[in-house]
């Protein structure tokens, strides 16, 4: 079977004209000599021709349909004209008979025509009713969209409420690619490709989708949106709330069954046991229910396996330089490898090379290489002020020994490594002794990171115009393309915002032309083609640019420090430059639903629960919420029988009561710090505020909590 399979490969290559001249002759003589091979070859040819038939038949049946359609149109057109002519004739005859023979019966002919016209009008009404049907369908789907919008605006719409409502961030994503989004307040969404379905048709959504995300981390945002953190009478502590909606055009789309979106909620103070909850609005209060399969909390940030390249500082198991295997743990091995690489460069770098360059003083080189999944060093690149320096750096890096490859989740991965080399060229007098002091080269591999940027260029543009995402663009074709543009054989025209191209007739008539007239082309009278290029989403770019950027610095108070420095400061309890806000960590959770999403955990009652009811003067429909000082939680109240009922709350908790009143387009508020106790005696003194003032007051309040 093996030989047979290779033979078939060979035959395929021969038929596709992929063989070199020499192999071709070999092949042809093999057919002559080897009868079994010849039989195989002939059989294969027959088979491929049989396969071709299927495609040709498809085209023929398409052509047949067009032909039949045209025939039908012709016949119906002719008959329509005939009927029209007859009707006119009858009308004329009828009119003539009316005037001339007033009292006479209409001629027989007219009767026949009238009965003829009835089925025609009938069919017309039938099609009419179908279109009406369709339009009702579309309105009903629009209806559901409207209700969802109403849901989002929390009940009645007063002008302040509109103003108070947080605006969603709109993010356009391509559903054919995995997407990672970082929202303005730090929420990170990982959306795998083809994650959405159209709820009406059940089919997977392709093309761009608009994502609307609203983040509720700030207390003021939570209070203004009347959000609270209760799940069926149980109090929750929140790690952040989101409202997510995905739309394609006007259609809301859902997350595909069995798919999920990874959500990372930023947190400065990571607490265990966070889970995802879905929210439902009920009488102006939101109730959160635990997402069914969301009980898995992924503690660590996942790194997509598809990427396979994991930077050195992030990779789980770092590549190991020979000799570093015996270090105690991964971190030690990482450190050992780093030092070993630095030492290796220092030892082997020929510093003499610097003298020929005319450079002097401190020189900075940035090198970059990859340790592949076999541990080999490759993809070496260096940026240097002089080519001889980069050549030397590349030479030395090329000498690096094979290492034990890095691992991520148990799989060998390629590890990019960037390495700045500081070189000092002492050029005072050629006669002076040149010391090859290795300490002159300083290495600090931590300062830089590598990022990739994708880029779109002329290649992608050509593919868009050719309507072929795999169109071969080589330098020759590029040259031709530019030539055609100069000769104005290819011309871009901008009609409003859509760009179109005019491709002149001669392009298609050239021998071996790569231009083909496509089905959706429009052709001018002169035979030129007007082409609408593909949407850029259809042509993925393959160009990637690697950029070396300075590593992220961390802010400790007003200072900017490196990651290590930051971590040591963090551990040092006496250091006061850091506040808990500086440390960003994430709760990573998976959701299979959109809409209201909350990252919470249940608060277990440590102390006694009491009934907490509040009576205030002039409630006027004010909304009163209870904010807890020791944890991120907001309780709602229900206004019943002249009192605000918070139901069961923990006793002796430090809380802040926030009352918000909206009246005639104005906002009033008051806050009271208190402790939960039976029969509280508090009252609010409402003050009018603007939205901005309110926000800043609430922020102050939050600082007070912390």
């Amino acid at each position: 079977m093996e030989t047979n399979s290779t033979n078939i490969d060979l035959i395929n290559a021969f038929l596709n004209n992929e063989l070199a001249q020499e192999d071709r002759t070999d092949f042809e003589s093999k057919i002559q000599k080897d009868s079994a091979f010849k039989a195989l070859y002939e059989e294969h040819v027959v088979f491929i021709k049989g396969l071709e038939r299927i495609q040709v038949k498809k085209d023929i049946s398409k052509a047949k349909q067009t032909y039949n359609l045209r025939k039908w149109i012709k016949i119906s057109g002719v008959s329509l004209v005939a009927i029209l002519a007859l009707v006119m004739l009858v009308v004329w005859v009828f009119k003539a008979s009316e005037t001339a023979y007033d009292s006479q019966d209409p001629p027989k002919q007219s009767l026949i025509i009238v009965s003829d016209s009835i089925p025609i009008s009938k069919s017309k009404t039938e099609t009419d009713s179908i279109t009406i049907d369709e339009s009702t369908k579309t309105t009903s789907s629009q209806d559901t969209y409207v209700t969802s919008a109403v849901k989002q605006t929390y009940g009645s719409l007063s002008s302040t409420q509109k103003q108070l409502q947080k605006r969603a961030q709109k993010i356009k994503i391509n559903t054919e690619k995995d997407t990672i989004i970082t929202c303005s307040e730090g929420t990170v969404l990982h959306i795998k490709k083809e994650s959405f379905v159209n709820p009406n048709t059940g089919s997977i959504v392709t093309g761009p989708v608009d994502l609307y995300v609203t983040e509720y981390y700030e207390l003021s945002d939570i209070l203004l949106a009347k959000l609270s953190t209760v799940s069926n009478d149980q109090q929750l502590e929140t790690g952040g709330m989101l409202y997510i909606e995905a739309k394609q055009g006007d259609t809301s789309v859902d997350v595909r069954p069995n798919a999920s979106i990874d959500i990372m909620f930023p947190t400065s103070d990571k607490k265990p046991g966070m889970q995802l909850f879905d929210g439902q609005w009920n009488d102006d209060t939101i109730n959160w229910t635990l997402q069914s399969q969301a009980d898995e909390l992924i503690e660590d940030i996942e790194i997509e396996e598809g990427l396979i390249e994991v930077p050195f500082n992030v990779v789980e198991v770092a590549p190991i330089f020979p000799g570093c295997e015996n270090s105690i743990d991964n971190d030690a091995r990482k450190q050992c490898t780093k030092e070993a690489i630095s030492q290796f460069i220092t030892r082997n770098f020929n510093t003499d090379i610097g003298f020929g360059t005319g450079l002097s003083g401190q020189q900075r080189l940035t090198s970059f290489f990859k340790i592949d999944n076999n541990g080999n060093v490759g993809f070496i690149q260096t940026n240097a002020p002089h080519p001889t320096l980069s050549q030397e750096a590349n030479r030395v890096l090329g000498l690096l020994p094979q290492m034990i490859p890095g691992k991520q989740r148990g799989r060998n991965v390629t590890v990019p490594y960037s390495l700045p080399i500081n070189l000092f060229i002492d050029n005072k007098g050629i006669s002076s002794n040149i010391t090859r002091d290795s300490s002159l080269i300083q290495l600090n591999p931590r300062d830089f990171d590598t990022i990739y940027v994708t880029r779109r260029g002329i290649t992608e543009r050509i593919r868009e115009i050719m309507h072929d995402k795999d169109f071969q663009v080589d330098s020759l074709f590029l040259e031709q393309w530019e030539q055609y543009k100069k000769q104005r054989l290819i011309r871009e025209i901008n009609a409003s915002n859509d760009s179109r191209y005019i491709l002149r007739k001669s392009l298609f008539e050239m021998t071996d032309s790569k231009f083909k007239i496509l089905e959706d082309d429009s052709i001018t009278r002169g035979g030129h083609v007007i082409r609408i290029p593909w949407d850029s989403l259809k042509v993925p770019t393959t160009s990637r640019i690697m950029r070396i950027v300075p590593k992220q610095r961390f802010s400790a108070g007003r200072e900017s420090v490196s990651e290590e420095d930051f971590l040591t400061r963090l551990e040092d309890e006496g250091d006061t430059t850091l506040s808990s806000r500086d440390v960003t960590n994430y709760y990573m959770l998976k959701t299979s639903n959109l809409g209201w999403i909350n990252c919470d955990r249940f608060i277990n009652g440590r102390s006694k629960r009491i009934k907490y009811k509040l009576k205030i003067k002039n409630p006027d429909g004010a909304v009163v919420s209870m904010v807890f000082k020791s944890y991120n939680s907001v309780l709602p109240s229900w206004y019943r029988n002249g009192a605000y009922d918070f139901q069961n709350v923990l006793e002796n908790e430090q809380v802040i009561l926030v009352a918000i009143k909206r009246k005639e387009g104005k906002l009033y508020y008051d806050v009271i710090e208190t402790q939960t106790e039976v029969n509280p005696n508090v009252d609010f003194n409402f003050k009018e505020v603007s939205v901005e003032e309110f926000k800043s007051k609430i922020e102050d309040l939050k600082n007070l909590i912390e």
Binding site: S5, F47, G50, L51, R53, I54, K57, K62, A63, K64
Partner: protein
């Protein structure tokens, strides 16, 4: 539209448009088949077969259309029909001129391809898709593995080989039953 224009359509890869033009000749071919005792469905099949043979010839480099499309399609259709009816007598065969012999051979050859086509249609849907992607769309195994969700391009390659073998086995048995 002249024959030259239709030829141009073929050359520009707009096969379906060319076929649509050629369909205007269909009524005359239909008349021929009806006069020889066939029905409309027969006429349809014959015409389709004639178009396939024409297309195949146009794609091969050493073919030159010496007559009009109509004359060519007419003679191909005539042979296809008489072959179906097994009406060609030895005497008639001997009287064919060189040009006609060529057409007749095309018709006989096409029958083999037809069997191969039918064999292909008898293998599973997934096999069909795989072979179509490889031979018609000229996709690489890597792309096929992606489209058809095989774990690796190697698996795609193995599968393709198995599918091909299956189709060829069916083809061989069919060929034997026809020849006997």
């Amino acid at each position: 539209m002249s024959d030259q224009d239709i030829l141009k359509l073929f050359k520009n890869g707009q096969r379906d448009k060319a076929f649509a033009k050629l369909y205007q000749l269909y009524p005359r071919i239909e008349k021929l088949i009806l006069s020889k005792g066939g029905n409309k469905a027969d006429a349809n099949d014959v015409f389709q077969e004639a178009l396939i043979i024409l297309n195949r010839n146009l794609e091969s480099s050493n073919f030159k259309l010496t007559s009009s499309f109509y004359t060519y399609l007419y003679s191909v259709s005539r042979f296809v029909w008489s072959d179906i009816q097994k009406q060609m007598t030895k005497k008639e065969l001997h009287q064919l001129d060189g040009h006609e012999v060529q057409v007749f051979q095309n018709v006989i050859e096409e029958k083999k391809y037809q069997i191969a086509e039918h064999a292909f249609l008898e293998i599973g849907k997934r096999c069909q898709q795989l072979l179509q992607l490889f031979y018609h769309k000229a996709m690489s195994f890597k792309e096929i593995a992606q489209v058809m969700q095989f774990n690796s391009s190697k698996i795609a390659k193995n599968q393709k080989y198995k599918c091909l073998q299956k189709a060829k086995d069916i083809y061989q048995t069919k060929l034997k039953s026809v020849e006997s």
